[in-house]
């Protein structure tokens, strides 16, 4: 193969020798190495291979005619990597392949078509584009309705299933009747429910955080094992980067992801660009990404959401593992290797590992400071605490690393759920699979704008509401498969989070009222134990949540942020605004994706992340 490339004048002998040494060390194909080194482009290599194997080379996207092959759908085309193109003059079907046409492969194609094919060789990336062109509507449908078609009860396409609707109506009727009979009793009961929701939500988070704190001196990744991991033992890795209206920052991802310590020939970065977003695509192309960065055009159509784009990306993923990053993400360079080690050391039931997220623009303004406090507590304490107890982990927005086979088994992401990541983590637990965490951090851009923050949070909280409703559709099944502990932790965390934020304004109102009124004037609303519960929540619950966020900042050694933890009550009010907006949207437009604008920061990522991440 190497000699053939030299004979064709595609590479020099010296380059070939160097590439052969890398290939020998890494166990990769020489062609892959040459492409990764930039010595050869993919199309030239494919042409040379076609010549070597005696096949015609084609660019399948140039063939406008579509051969109708019954029984051959996009799943099969992508799974088996062959694409019927057209018929020759003699009626023989022309089929594009991307790998060596071994006799078994040829026989399988012939069996599928019912006739002997005429094989041609296509470049892998041209092949993918041709599939997108040919099967765009099918892909859109699979990405949008795949989970729904497979298991409607797991999809948030329907907000409430019939029994939930009936239960809601019955509950409302009962509340109205009770209010007519005894309004005070209803208000007191409401106070109790709100108080208990707050107590359980905050109590669970604090408990999980304390357990997470125990994990801080446990080294998850053995540094020696990481250093000794040879390239030839690394699997192929797919990186999905869904982007939308991000022309201003998309070029950054080339630098950010380019710093990943992973052999380029084993890495496939798929930038998922919406069909109507020509600006972002143009900006990304203008940045001249390296050979292993490729664009996948996400077919237009509702719902236009990140999970739908990810589902399209999953169709094209060829890696054994897969990770999602946002365009502005800056992961620690060894993150993929740590994930590989984690997967290898665990059983097949481990379907995903989550890296920690944190912010490079923490000190930009009060909002970014609070955001950083929150993420430090969430990813450094909460999630490790949940993992320690083997409880359901709601995934964060990015840096979730998946075992691709497991992800496909789960049906990918739910495009109708606006926190598809959290939903997927819970679904994994509900299916008896596991989610873990790794000790690696991805640095992101914290939201700098208050309206943007409320939009983003309203989506997250709405997604938690959706996720709660979806997974409570079959509560007995959930308990049976996932277990009672998993179910309760899911309820306390995913259900408890929106409930806590909805409860916050009521608790604050009571606090303000207490400053103005005598206890006797409020006693009709807070009799006896109800008062004790409210006082406990106000004093202890709030203080504990402030405390864990202070500790989170301390752990990250962001000492200047520690006292900002005291501003948490104000931060929770912002969450409450978002929570009520989320509740309203859940009723009026449940699948609407509140887009978070990125690239608003004036801070450079490179200057504000630890040196190990700068790459």
């Amino acid at each position: 193969m190497g000699d053939h490339l030299v004979d064709r004048g595609l590479v020099s002998k010296a380059t070939l020798d160097a590439a052969e040494r890398v290939a020998a060390d890494s166990g990769a194909y020489i062609g892959q190495v040459l492409i990764a080194l930039g010595a050869l482009d993919s199309a030239s290599l494919t042409r040379a291979l076609a010549d070597l194997w005696g096949l015609p080379y084609v660019v399948p996207t140039r063939i406008t005619e579509a051969l109708d092959a019954p029984g051959v759908d996009v799943g099969r085309v992508l799974g088996e990597q062959w694409l019927p193109l057209e018929r020759r003059g003699d009626g023989t079907p022309v089929v594009a392949v991307v790998d060596e046409p071994t006799p078994p492969r040829r026989a399988a194609i012939a069996a599928a078509l019912g006739e002997e094919p005429f094989l041609v060789l296509a470049d892998r990336w041209d092949f993918q584009q041709a599939v997108l062109d040919r099967y765009g509507s099918d892909l859109r449908e699979r990405a949008s309705l795949g989970l729904w078609g497979r298991s409607p009860s797991q999809s948030a396409r329907t907000v409430l299933v019939p029994w939930q609707r009936v239960a809601l109506v019955v509950a409302l009727v009962l509340v109205v009747l009770a209010a007519v009979a005894d309004l005070r009793a209803v208000v007191v009961t409401f106070s109790v429910v709100v108080g208990l929701a707050f107590l359980v939500g905050t109590g669970f988070k604090f408990w999980a955080s304390l357990r997470g704190a125990r994990m801080e001196h446990v080294t998850r990744t053995d540094a020696a094992a990481l250093a000794a991991l040879p390239d030839q033992e690394l699997p192929r890795y797919t990186v999905l980067v869904p982007v939308y209206k991000e022309a201003n920052i998309v070029a950054n991802l080339i630098g950010n992801l380019g710093a990943l310590d992973y052999p380029a020939h084993l890495l496939e970065v798929l930038i998922l660009v919406e069909e109507d977003d020509t600006e972002t695509r143009a900006a990304a192309e203008a940045a001249h990404p390296p050979a292993h960065f490729r664009f996948i055009t996400v077919p237009a159509g509702a719902p236009q959401t990140k999970p739908k784009a990810c589902n399209v990306g999953l169709e094209f993923a060829t890696g054994e593992y897969l990770v999602i990053y946002d365009a502005e993400d800056k992961p620690e360079p060894d993150q993929l290797k740590k994930a590989v080690l984690a997967f290898r050391q665990a059983g097949e039931d481990l379907v995903c590992v989550q890296a920690a997220l944190n912010y490079f623009n923490a000190d930009e303004n009060p909002l970014t400071r609070m955001f950083t406090l929150e993420y430090s507590f969430w990813f450094d304490y909460m999630l490790p605490g949940l993992e320690y107890g083997r409880l359901a982990i709601p995934l964060g927005g990015t840096s979730n690393h998946f075992r691709v086979s497991g992800l496909r088994r789960l049906g990918g992401w739910d495009p109708y759920n606006v926190t598809e990541d959290a939903d997927l983590g819970i679904r994994a637990s509900a299916e008896g699979l596991r989610v873990g965490v790794i000790d690696s951090t991805t640095y992101e851009e914290a939201n700098t704008s208050y309206p943007n923050f409320v939009r983003q949070r309203s989506r997250w909280i709405k997604g938690y509401m959706q996720t709660t409703l979806v997974h409570l559709r079959q509560p007995f099944r959930l308990v049976r498969v996932a277990g009672l502990r998993q179910t309760l932790s899911f309820l306390f965390l995913v259900g408890g989070t929106p409930a806590t934020f909805l409860a916050v304004p009521l608790l604050y109102a009571v606090f303000l009222a207490s400053l103005l009124l005598d206890p006797q004037q409020l006693s009709f609303l807070f009799p006896g134990w109800v008062l004790w519960l409210s006082l406990f929540n106000l004093g202890v619950g709030s203080a504990l949540m402030i405390y864990v966020s202070m500790m989170g900042a301390f752990k990250r050694r962001r000492y200047g942020l520690v006292l900002w933890g005291l501003a948490n009550p104000a931060y929770w009010l912002l969450h409450s605004v978002a929570a009520y907006k989320a509740l309203w949207q859940l009723v009026t437009k449940p699948h609407y994706w509140e887009k978070t604008a990125h690239g608003l920061t004036g801070v450079s990522a490179a200057a504000h992340v630890p040196p190990t991440v700068r790459g």
């Binding site: 203080a543 000492y559 933890g565």
Partner: protein, 383 residues
């Protein structure tokens, strides 16, 4: 650092916690029970001797003020510190139950102190000798049988001090949580604990500097995470007292056993100084270790020195009574702040000798002085 390979084959952080000794849970529980049983026995003997535990009686009176589920809460200020009042109420005001609870708490506390000495590498003889100064002399028994509040305060102080050391030196935020929460709970249990909290917060930056973490931001953050639970607890209590009670500070004013600055500021200062000096003379472990440190690493005495100042202030203000408490706290300070790390055979022998001397002095002082502790000891021993 521990190094289990994977995040997912179940990692067990407790296996790697520095304070977990003995490592086998059954042995750990066995040790706790063994350490608690003598205190149970002495508590029963104390009751059988007809001794009236004044401090526990006062606590029972405070507990009787608690009205569970009451929405008036006009009594709220009077029960300060509220957690100990709630404990007394839950125990039905029984002073025997309080002593038994104290024994249980001591089982845990002494096991932790033992674990600290094992962690520091003192070896079995020196560890046994140091713990022996506490479990083979009367002061701790007196406290367990008579003063639940002070005992809980000391137990939480031990927890906090141990946590602070790991928090600031090893950056263990788990230990920081433990220390901060211990201080937060302590101020709601023990009227003198706020002074300990302030003292420990003052000590923390010195630890931080030793751990190579300096700068006022780091110090401010260290103090903030240690003090926040205590400050939040007191602040919330003041708010609740203000809202419900006509005299929100009434509980604080009544928090001292013999009033603030007993006998006046000057007399109280002199008495406190005398008590501290006597307690130090009765604690050769502390004296020897301090002398060695003063010669080898004088800066390392700053933290124990500040803790000593805190102890003095608590005596001066009247937040602590003598009756062996100072001596117990000094011994705990030795274990947590002064004990040498991985001492050689000669130093271990010196520790054993000092501990035996301390033990002998402990008995001698108790049996020859006419103080409350001596009277109690003679009553229990049937003398």
């Amino acid at each position: 650092m521990a190094s289990p390979a994977s995040p997912l084959p179940r990692t067990s952080p407790r296996r790697y916690a520095a304070d977990t000794w003995p490592t086998a849970p059954a042995a750990r529980w066995g040790l706790r029970i063994a350490l608690a049983l003598p205190f149970v026995a002495v508590a029963l003997l104390s009751r059988a001797a007809g001794w009236v535990p004044a401090a526990d009686e006062a606590l029972a009176d405070r507990g009787a003020l608690v009205q569970w589920g009451d929405s008036g809460l006009s009594w709220i200020a009077q029960v300060f510190p509220p957690l100990s009042a709630a404990v007394a109420a839950l125990l039905g005001g029984s002073t025997l139950a309080m002593s038994l609870l104290a024994a249980v708490v001591l089982g845990f506390t002494l096991q932790r102190l033992t674990a600290v000495l094992v962690r520091e590498g003192l070896g079995p003889w020196a560890t046994a000798a140091v713990i022996g100064t506490l479990v083979l002399t009367p002061p701790l028994y007196y406290l367990a049988a008579n003063d639940l509040v002070s005992l809980l305060g000391i137990a939480l102080l031990v927890l906090a001090l141990d946590g602070i050391a790991a928090f600031v030196e090893q950056r263990s935020t788990e230990a920081g949580f433990r220390a901060g929460l211990a201080l937060g709970v302590a101020v709601m249990l023990d009227p003198g604990a706020w002074l300990y909290a302030l003292t420990l917060a003052a000590v923390a930056p010195f630890f931080a500097r030793r751990a190579g973490r300096s700068g006022w931001r780091a110090n401010e953050a260290t103090v903030a995470v240690l003090l926040f639970p205590a400050v939040a607890a007191v602040a919330f209590w003041l708010y609740a007292s203000w809202w419900f009670s006509a005299d929100p500070l009434g509980g604080l004013e009544a928090a001292t056993p013999a009033g603030w600055l007993p006998g006046g500021a000057g007399a109280s200062a002199a008495a406190a100084l005398r008590q501290i000096a006597l307690a130090l003379l009765a604690a050769p472990l502390v004296l020897v270790a301090s002398t060695v440190r003063a010669v080898r690493d004088p800066w390392s005495l700053i933290a124990p020195g500040i803790a000593l100042v805190g102890l003095y202030l608590s005596l001066w203000l009247g937040l602590r009574e003598a009756a062996g408490q100072t001596w117990i706290v000094l011994t705990a300070l030795y274990v947590l702040l002064l004990a040498p790390r991985d001492p050689g055979p000669r130093r271990r022998a010196a520790i054993v000798v000092a501990a035996v001397a301390q033990l002998a002095i402990g008995w001698l002082v108790v049996l020859t002085s006419g103080g409350t502790l001596g009277v109690w000891a003679r009553a229990v021993l049937g003398g």
